[in-house]
């Protein structure tokens, strides 16, 4: 009846996951009860859960990422504490549990923090920067988000019901095969990634189509803001790479569920094929994450330097070069597994070549700042912090791209330090910069600068104190994933790293305080003009938060830095001689399709993990029925009448006029 599921799945003997699970459960129940009692449920349902507005979906993506950041971060804290105290002792975590923690930490941070964060920002900003009303496929967008949420939910479910994979974040066979991992841990891993992977693919298709086919009048490719270019590159990579992940996990699941022999040790299975397939997805994945961050830095650096981006065309070229080369380096992840010196040399050189376009970008940012009137607002701090940190990460990356050096350093703490260096210093700093930069656009008020700067400095310093010692420990020969160790020389560095983790945690707390303080002071921080940073691209041309239709009429773009250009022209022409003509606007209707799809996907995923076959069929039928019902509806759009558009737009224009005349007076 319930497949493999019984009471033994709940870890009554392990206090840590049980207590953590109970706390989370109480918190969720508390929030739910509060929502229902306060009567917020209809509002949430109509305005957020069923919303197909790209801005709302973007915000929900970022919210999901933030919550999961806390979960993945607590895993990190637990690991740092364990390694600090596990010198010649077992530490406080049983090995089984520790293995689950590092697997969950990697999985969550990549798939449910970094991915939703950058996809959320792209969703929120790209249609605005392109000057259009929505993404190409609004309802599909909502489906994509909710499937990602399903994946996150399944991973967290494993905390209390059953277990998570103990195989590392990429579940290498044969360890992840049935003979070495008979439990449900790997199944939790694989199904949650399968489901959220579909969501990511959907988002990728959507954004590629949006950038290529939906641009406002005059927005030629070489007039698109840099963030749109990096979004395009990143999403092309999603479309090309995520199907590989889907296929690979499908093969692993076939091995586990039906006794196939793709990656087994018996009957001709080939484990190295898994390495090749997973890294053919996994290496582009790194660039899927970091390219949008590069785009954010481009926007932020140019805005806060008051200058157009230096070397715009070389930046475009560098972006697309990275997009292509990132697919040619996957093998550097297993230099030590016997591919031979020729193959290693080729992939080593290919890996180092990526440093060239990345270097181009760094210099372009530096030259953009050079001679500019730089304002060190919080987003700019994150960007400058990124440049310093990412260069270190890039250099250590080139170091491990040298095959002989890699033979010494692979699977060591040096490697752990390297990829945290690029992922935190690149992606997370970028995500935070984008968060601070576009927050006023999404909500209509700025974030508190004082707490934002404190958050930056604690995170920045905390990062160095945590991860620089790991480089040294790696040089001293410490391998990764150690539950405990007997080498005295490693210990001091582990203690320093744990201390750094504490500093990092203060940074996170500062960020939470910043959010609370800013919401409290939102009237004082209100942004009426829609353009709080004196921005350059079209998202600042509309009000904050933008109306549901983004723009009353499609802006006419005449060059790079579209909005900067408009402001400059408006000042010259003393603005406001033309009376715009308003038209009715058709917008897509809200739809619960995404939420219902995810509901059935959750049921199906859970049933598959526990082999509850009748429930799998139920979920499948439900998903198909949702699809048909959605396809059957007759009215998928509603009309906003021209008068309403005019009313909303006039308010915006008045605010803007005062801004421009003020700027003219200065």
């Amino acid at each position: 009846m319930l497949g493999k599921l019984d009471w033994s799945a709940i870890p009554f003997d392990q206090p840590i996951p049980l207590v953590a699970g109970a706390v989370v459960l109480v918190a969720i129940l508390g929030v739910l009860i509060w929502v229902v009692v306060k009567g917020h449920l209809p509002y949430l349902w109509h305005e957020w859960i069923t919303s197909v507005d790209h801005k709302r979906i973007g915000v929900m993506y970022i919210l999901l990422a933030s919550v999961m950041l806390l979960r993945g971060g607590s895993d990190a804290i637990m690991m740092r504490i364990q390694q600090a105290i596990a010198y010649q002792s077992q530490g406080y975590l049983p090995p089984e549990h520790y293995n689950q923690i590092f697997s969950a930490h990697g999985t969550i941070m990549i798939f449910f923090v970094a991915m939703p964060f950058v996809i959320g920002l792209m969703n929120l900003v790209v249609p605005l920067q392109l000057g259009v009303r929505d993404v190409a496929f609004p309802t599909l967008n909502s489906v994509g988000f909710w499937l990602t949420a399903t994946g996150a939910l399944l991973v967290n479910l494993s905390l209390v019901i059953g277990e998570f994979a103990r195989t590392g974040w990429l579940a290498f066979p044969p360890l992840s095969g049935l003979s070495y991992s008979p439990g449900v841990g790997v199944d939790y891993y694989a199904w949650s990634l399968q489901i959220s992977g579909v969501g990511t693919l959907v988002a990728g298709i959507n954004l590629v189509t949006t950038v290529l086919k939906l641009r406002t009048k005059g927005m030629n490719y070489l007039r698109m803001p840099m963030f749109c270019w990096t979004t395009l590159a990143s999403n092309l990579l999603i479309v090309a790479a995520f199907p590989i992940l889907t296929a690979t996990l499908a093969m692993l699941l076939l091995d586990r569920y039906l006794g196939f022999h793709f990656f087994t040790n018996e009957a001709g299975g080939n484990v190295m094929m898994f390495m090749n397939l997973i890294w053919a997805w996994g290496h582009p994945e790194v660039y899927i994450l970091v390219l949008p961050a590069f785009g954010i830095f481009s926007e932020v650096v140019s805005t806060f330097s008051g200058k157009a981006l230096f070397g715009y065309r070389s930046m475009v070229l560098a972006t697309m070069a990275i997009c292509v080369i990132s697919f040619m380096v996957w093998l550097h992840h297993f230099f030590t597994m016997g591919a031979g010196p020729d193959v290693n040399a080729i992939f080593g050189i290919a890996s180092m070549i990526i440093a060239i376009p990345t270097g181009v970008k760094i210099y372009n940012w530096l030259f953009t700042m050079y001679g500019g009137r730089i304002r060190f607002a919080t987003p700019m701090l994150w960007s400058v912090g990124f440049m310093v940190t990412f260069i270190i990460g890039g250099l250590t990356g080139v170091l491990v791209a040298v095959p002989p050096a890699d033979f010494m350093l692979h699977n060591s703490m040096f490697l752990v330090a390297h990829f945290h260096n690029v992922i935190i210093g690149g992606v997370l700093f970028g995500a935070f910069a984008g968060f601070e930069y576009w927050f006023p656009k999404a909500f209509g008020f700025r974030l508190d600068e004082r707490w934002g700067k404190l958050a930056f400095w604690f995170t920045f310093l905390g990062f160095y104190v945590t991860f620089m010692p790991l480089y040294i420990a790696g040089m001293l020969g410490m391998t990764r994933r150690l539950q405990h160790y007997d080498v005295a020389a490693w210990r001091p560095w582990m203690i320093v790293a744990a201390f750094g983790m504490a500093v990092l945690t203060i940074g996170v707390i500062c960020q939470i305080i910043q959010l609370v303080v800013s919401i409290r002071n939102r009237e004082a921080l209100r942004d009426r003009t829609g353009d709080p940073w004196d921005g350059r691209s079209l998202e600042w041309a509309t009000s904050s938060p933008p109306p549901v239709f983004n723009f009353a009429f499609h802006p006419d773009v005449r060059g790079e830095d579209a909005y900067w250009d408009m402001k400059a022209r408006a000042q010259q022409q003393s603005l406001g001689h033309e009376k715009p003509e308003y038209h009715d606007i058709e917008m897509p209707r809200n739809s619960p399709t995404g939420f219902i799809c995810a509901f059935f996907a959750t049921i199906m995923g859970f049933a598959l993990i526990w082999h509850i076959w009748w429930m799998v069929i139920l979920g499948g039928i439900g998903a198909f029925a949702t699809f048909v019902v959605f396809a059957w509806r007759d009215h998928d759009e509603y009309v906003i009448p021209a008068e309403e558009v005019a009313r909303i737009d006039r308010v915006n224009i008045e605010e803007r006029r005062s801004l421009v005349s003020m700027a003219g007076a200065i």
Binding site: A136, N220, V239, T246, G259, F260, M273, W632
Partner: protein, 213 residues
């Protein structure tokens, strides 16, 4: 700025040689839908290419079991191929019928496509059932695992296509040739033709090369 000059030149140069062409604005819904669906199909083909790659790596790993030459039946595969290629033709006819709003030829074209698809699926299913009955199921060897997965994955796509086809017929029956129904029909046709292209790959890589070894 120089932009007005660019716009001027664009008019003087209708073949768009050497100048920046002014972007006219967002594309129509029909183009956006078809384009997005193309991108999806490309991603689907990437997914298939992984199974092709796995088959290429594993096709010699028979673990003492049968090799391709011993189990493939050319006659069945030939019938399957004819069915699928023909169905692509009839699907094309149904698309044309939809474009000229002719219900009779639309239903006829779709019905024939459906029947051909089902014949294909039945033959494939019998091939699989027969192999499993002889003890050559996917668990026998890595070669058979990759064979069943690649061909089965294509078969699953065809099954989904048949379901979609029936849904399209029902939609035209209930709603007529509305713009959104026509857009879906266009996507379905793209999907069905793409399956044909993939089958040509399966036919060549799995059956032709496999029988030759």
């Amino acid at each position: 700025m120089s932009m007005t000059a660019t716009a001027g030149r664009a008019h003087a140069d209708p073949h768009h040689i050497g100048v920046v062409v002014e972007h006219p604005g967002p594309a129509s819904k029909r183009i956006v839908t078809a384009y997005g669906f193309w991108v999806f199909l490309l991603s689907d083909i990437v997914m298939f290419s992984c199974f092709f790659a796995a088959y290429a790596v594993l096709h010699g790993q028979t673990a003492g079991g049968p090799s391709g030459a011993e189990i493939f039946e050319q006659r069945n595969v030939a019938i399957e191929t004819v069915c699928l290629l023909l169905s692509s033709f009839t699907c094309g006819m149904a698309s044309i019928a939809a474009d000229v709003r002719n219900r009779f030829w639309f239903y006829l074209g779709m019905a024939v496509t459906c029947v051909l698809g089902i014949i294909f699926l039945v033959i494939e299913f019998r091939e699989f059932a027969d192999l499993i009955a002889r003890g050559y199921g996917p668990t026998r060897s890595a070669f058979l695992s990759s064979f069943f997965s690649l061909v089965g994955c294509h078969g699953l796509h065809v099954s989904a296509g048949v379901l979609w086809l029936l849904t399209m017929m029902a939609q035209v029956f209930a709603k007529g040739f509305r713009a959104d129904v026509l857009r879906r029909m266009m996507c379905f046709a793209l999907f069905w033709h793409a399956l044909d292209i993939i089958w040509v790959g399966v036919f060549s890589v799995v059956y032709l090369l496999g029988s030759a070894v």
